[in-house]
């Protein structure tokens, strides 16, 4: 590689008395650095797949969708947990999409400049609050509130839908979904705001010059232009909600049965793993690794979609923030 080195050598090195590397060696070190990362990822994927393999070779693929989890009866169906994961995430996103979008629009276009800076920083700081703190807050502060006020209220107003049958327990799908909503909100607002902020200024001003009202500008110019990036932000938030472990495990009530109501205790794939990992062995442990693999596949799928959508939408300016908080 030294032959391709066109830079002057020797003299400069001696003058500064400093360590230097030829271009080839430098390049090689960079490749090693990136290679180590790639190797770690490969090791990670191999480990999970390898440990999950026994359960798949023993039970095939259909066991994933069996409705019963009972290790004593040798039943390891993951359906309740897949449903729980989807349901909690759905509750979170139903709340987070409109509220996050409204907040991002306000932050990007409506609030005064000074407020924008303060709130913008606050949102990014909040994205860093550890999830276990949200979990602790949820189980101590929100669960009694949900049991005494929120769930009775929702039952009286929306009980006819059949979604709110059963006793008010506080912990359950609804609280887990709410906590997830609060958790993903800062991430979602931060990325959505970055996406909205890079809508070309001329288009916004052009629409205003044509006499459009502020809402018309937002709806007909800003939102269509930012559509792909916003979808990416929502998908990214979905991915975070799907994989959240401790906060959900603390507030979902951890039941191994399919929930029959939004107030029912339930469990998600991550909460199943974390609650049973300590005592599991043999086939049950393999089943938990299998659950991990299912979670990995869902997570990678959702995140690939999100990244493709967000890619190139925030550009270099927003990229740093989005990467940091995501």
């Amino acid at each position: 590689m030294a032959t391709t080195d066109t830079a002057p050598t020797g003299g400069e090195k001696r003058r500064h008395g400093r360590f230097s590397l030829s271009n080839g060696a430098y390049r090689a070190i960079l490749i090693v650095g990136a290679g180590i990362f790639a190797a770690l990822v490969a090791w990670f994927l191999y480990s999970i797949v390898n440990q999950a393999r026994p359960i798949f070779s023993a039970l095939g693929v259909s066991w994933i969708f069996q409705p019963t989890w009972n290790p004593n009866l040798h039943k390891f169906g993951l359906l309740p947990f897949i449903l729980g994961t989807i349901e909690t995430t759905a509750i979170a996103m139903v709340l987070a999409v409109p509220i996050g979008l409204g907040t991002a629009l306000s932050l990007a276009y409506l609030v005064p400049a000074r407020v924008k800076v303060v709130l913008g920083s606050a949102v990014e700081l909040l994205a860093a609050v550890p999830s276990v703190v949200y979990g602790l807050w949820g189980v101590v502060a929100l669960a009694p509130l949900w049991r005494e006020y929120v769930e009775p209220f929702l039952t009286s107003v929306l009980g006819w839908t059949g979604l709110f049958n059963g006793p008010n327990e506080g912990v359950g799908l609804l609280l887990a979904g709410t906590i997830l909503f609060i958790m993903v909100l800062p991430t979602m607002v931060a990325i959505s705001r970055d996406v909205l902020a890079v809508v070309p200024r001329e288009q916004v001003e052009g629409a205003m010059a044509l006499g459009a009202t502020r809402w018309q500008v937002l709806r007909k110019v800003v939102l269509p232009d930012a559509r792909t990036g916003l979808l990416g932000a929502f998908t990214l938030a979905t991915g975070r909600a799907l994989g959240e472990t401790v906060a959900v495990a603390l507030v979902i009530g951890n039941s191994n049965y399919i929930a029959h109501s939004l107030k029912s205790p339930a469990a998600t794939l991550p909460s199943l793993i974390i609650n049973n990992f300590g005592e599991a062995s043999g086939t049950e442990l393999a089943a938990l690794f299998g659950a991990g693999l299912v979670l990995l596949v869902i997570g990678l799928g959702v995140n690939s979609i999100a990244r493709v959508l967000v890619r190139g939408k925030t550009g270099a300016a927003g990229g740093a923030t989005s990467v940091a908080v995501a």
Partner: protein, 303 residues
């Protein structure tokens, strides 16, 4: 000469403009009303978003500050019923695990970031996409990975916790470094090349100093994310109610104390959990705010 006469009433363009204006005028009231309603909803959503986020901070502060006393910081965690428990062992564990993870991931992340910033090939694109995906992989899977790959062979230890946390931090640092390095103006790089400097020299003396604010921000944010993670630690460091400075042994950590105590019915354990939550949140916020201050100061010095 009839060509020169101009009859505005018959001009189709003006006619069309007048039409549009009258339509716009007629709908102005309705459009203004719907705009007011929609923007009002946006404002309501902004407030709705702020309430829970402020509530979690205020609540944690109010509950946690009560727990902060001398024994909280100097004593180790005690089981229920034994007074004067603290979180000293967990604080030491979190700091050591965070420090080890940071020390290992910074050089790797820097190399990876430089590689990504200086390469545009298909391999680099693949690694970039992989790094993006890895930042979104559920953190519990890193714990399972640490368990399968290392705990089974070496037993529980703080180092494996640092490994799992490092796996979460590495892609974040790589991408942040890449973004920061790509933000350095290309002419600096070209000036270095024109002076006959080697690429290593340019990277060390020109590009890295110029990209430093962005790199520091990224690293501090990655640390903030890393030390707050609970799930990876549950599978790797096991927890330890005694003071343990040796990272090759099972350790305790603040997120673990919070998680374990939060499902306890005992008020004193719960109070420790709140104190630990406030401590952890304060650490994370200091790192996040610190990263902004550092970045802003370095940016200003450069001007």
């Amino acid at each position: 000469m009839s060509v020169l006469t101009f009859d505005p009433s018959g001009d189709p363009i003006l006619e069309r403009r007048r039409q549009i204006q009258s339509i716009a005028q007629a709908s102005l009231g309705r459009r203004k009303a719907s705009s007011a309603v929609a923007l009002g909803i946006c404002w309501v959503f902004l407030v709705l978003a702020i309430i829970p986020l402020v509530a979690v901070i205020v609540y944690t502060f109010a509950k946690g500050i009560v727990a902060w006393n001398a024994t909280f910081f100097t004593q180790v965690t005690k089981p229920e019923g034994i007074p004067d428990g603290g979180v000293a062992n967990a604080l030491v564990g979190t700091v050591i695990i965070g420090a080890v993870a940071t020390a290992v991931t910074i050089p790797l992340g820097l190399l990876g970031g430089l590689f990504l910033a200086e390469s545009d090939g298909r391999v680099a694109a693949g690694i970039r996409f992989t790094a993006d995906l890895m930042t979104g992989v559920p953190s519990i899977l890193m714990g399972i990975f640490g368990y399968i790959a290392l705990v089974k062979a070496f037993g529980y230890s703080g180092l494996i916790g640092a490994f799992a946390i490092g796996m979460i931090m590495l892609p974040i640092i790589m991408r942040a470094c890449e973004t920061a390095i790509r933000g350095v103006p290309g002419h600096l790089n070209e000036a270095g090349l024109a002076l006959g400097a080697r690429r290593f020299m340019i990277a060390r003396r020109v590009i890295l100093p110029a990209a430093l604010p962005g790199i520091i921000t990224g690293v501090l944010l990655a640390i903030a994310r890393g030390v707050g993670e609970t799930a990876p630690l549950l599978f790797t460091i096991f927890g330890n109610q005694y003071m343990q400075w040796n990272p090759t042994k099972p350790m305790d950590a603040l997120p673990l104390v919070i998680y374990n105590n939060s499902s306890q019915p005992y008020p004193d354990l719960l109070q420790i959990a709140w104190g630990a939550a406030l401590l952890l949140m304060a650490m994370v916020l200091v790192l996040s705010i610190g990263s902004r201050i550092v970045a802003a100061r370095l940016q200003r010095e450069r001007r």
